[in-house]
Amino acid sequence: MNRRYLTLTVTAFVLLLLYGFGAAVFPNFLSLRVIVNLFGDNSFTGISAVGMTIVIISGGIDLSVASVIACTTIFIAQMVNPELHGWHPLQAMAAAVAMGAVFGAAQGFFISFFNLHPYLVTLSGMFFARGVGYIINDTNLAIKHPFYSETVRGLSIPLSAILRDYLGLENYVRKGVSLPLTAQCFILFVVAGTLLLAFTRFGRYVYAIGSNEASARLMGVPVDRMKIQIYALSGFCAAAAGCVVTFYMQAGNSSLFVGLEMDAIAATVIGGTLLTGGVGGVPGTLMGVLILGLIQTLITFHGNLNNWWAKIFIGALLFLFISIQQLLNRGLTRRAST
């Protein structure tokens, strides 16, 4: 079996195992609401993880995503606030997403033009975006706008009604479950990311750079330009995740999500993407995000389990997946050398 599908299979297996465990232990776990919440509550981690996956496949890393998300939320809240600027939310979001992309492109420029380590550049990007967020506003700013209270809510898909009316599943589905806009955005980004990597030249270049940058360059891949685009895409995803956060919280706060970049990286690794680049994909990352979310949900359901077990368990999962990948890698190099 292709090694790419092997790790993906293990990821899917862990996901099913966790879900099966939850369903077996907690009576209400096997419900549509839990699944919908799983997508909704983890949408921003997921969207930034899509960008992170593309960056990591190209052999880089982006530590700035959490700060960019926080900075975006406070920017939107500040701009929408009628007493301060009074922009329309869509206007603010468009500006925020554009700024996120430009910010990412700047990071990509420093990485490619000066040949700097992405870790250092995105690290300073992380400090920078966090500081800018605080400069914009260092309080928790609520967003009160009809767009948020009506349009966003109105855009959620009434899943229970659809399942009942069109599929006749009235006995199985509870009333009032709907797929919020946050979850829709998450799914949209996952689909778009998957297609982008699988079917476009951009995607093929990303894999080429991640596998071997030098030979990609020799084959005529515009490596420097690609890197700028890749980090711009990650900045774009992070800013989009920030927009989704405002749907979710109806507020902006510049001190939020410290450490979320690590969740995004962990989800990517658990999803079978190699941190050394060249191997991986967005579907795996989706499963990685859902696994992290499931761990959190399980702990919430249990009620008595402390939150730190989540960190330890995620660490153990990381160890499991990294070891599997390492063993596979070793097997391949050994086969190649004999």
């Binding site: 500081g131 730190w308 330890i312 660490g315 990381l318 990294i322």
Partner: protein, 348 residues
Amino acid sequence: MTMLRYAGILIFWILLAALLYWVRKQKNVVFWPLLALAGLLAFNLASTEQFYRLDWREGHLYGVPVDIINHASKVGILAIGMTLVIAVEGIDLSVGAVMAIAGAMMATLTRQHDVAPAYCVLAALGLGLAAGVWNGFLVAVMGIPPMVGTLILMVAGRGVAQLITDGQIIIFNNPVLTYIGNGFLVIPFPFILMLALFALTWLFTRKTAVGFMIEAVGDNEVASSRAGISARSIKFLAYVFCGLCAAIAGLVQTSNIRSADANNIGLYLELDAIMSVVIGGTSMMGGRFYLASSVIGAILIQALTTTMYAKSVSPVVAPVFKALVILLVCVLQSERVKRRLAARHQTA
């Protein structure tokens, strides 16, 4: 008294200038971070009142410079360990989490189990060593890329620390343990600890063949293996040593605030430590390493932070400047800029 202070400042600057001249003549890498530090100090001489004021109270030295070296100590200690890890082409992302583990262990033992201070410290250091062994095993034995391998402990470590403290912030007031982070022997004890660690590490690496081997492994692992150096054990030892340094730094910070806060001790300090090493001129590609330069880098970062506070820059805005400084230093050290500078040198 004022005369004395002016004389002191004058002597300090003469010494600093002499040091700068000497390291420049030696073509020592430490020149660049030292020059940046001198620039920052000169800026403060010109613009910040009371920056150089030193007071003598109850046998302690007080003042802004003392504050800087005091607070720079924990990052300096981390940077010493990190230098060796980066020299073998590695990186250790877990030092912040290891700091939290060590602090949690010390506080829990003294507060909840009434263990003697010496054993608390030993247990904490032992955990640091164990963390280093774990990282070393993953990177050196299993061959996992360092940024990936140490990520595991970075994520799980804080969970372990919280497990040890049971999620509580544990306050303690044992006089011996609080001395580690707050004591003074004329100058702050953490700084003395850092100097001692630096001296020992310097002797161990520069007066034995170990330093040479580290540089060989970092420069070319295959070649050094062929030459008979056990690259694997050298790398392993570097991570173990880094874990120990992280534990010491954790003890300093925990002791300084007299409580173990598993969520916040050492938070993002791995970044400061890596930054210190890179500012100090050790390349992330491994090879040559510069211990003293890393320590100066740590002091430079702290001096920058303190200067910003002295200029009443809000602590929440300070990261922006910090980010710009890291980026600037990285750009200045990049190959492209170096080549450009070298080219200009030749034509001139």
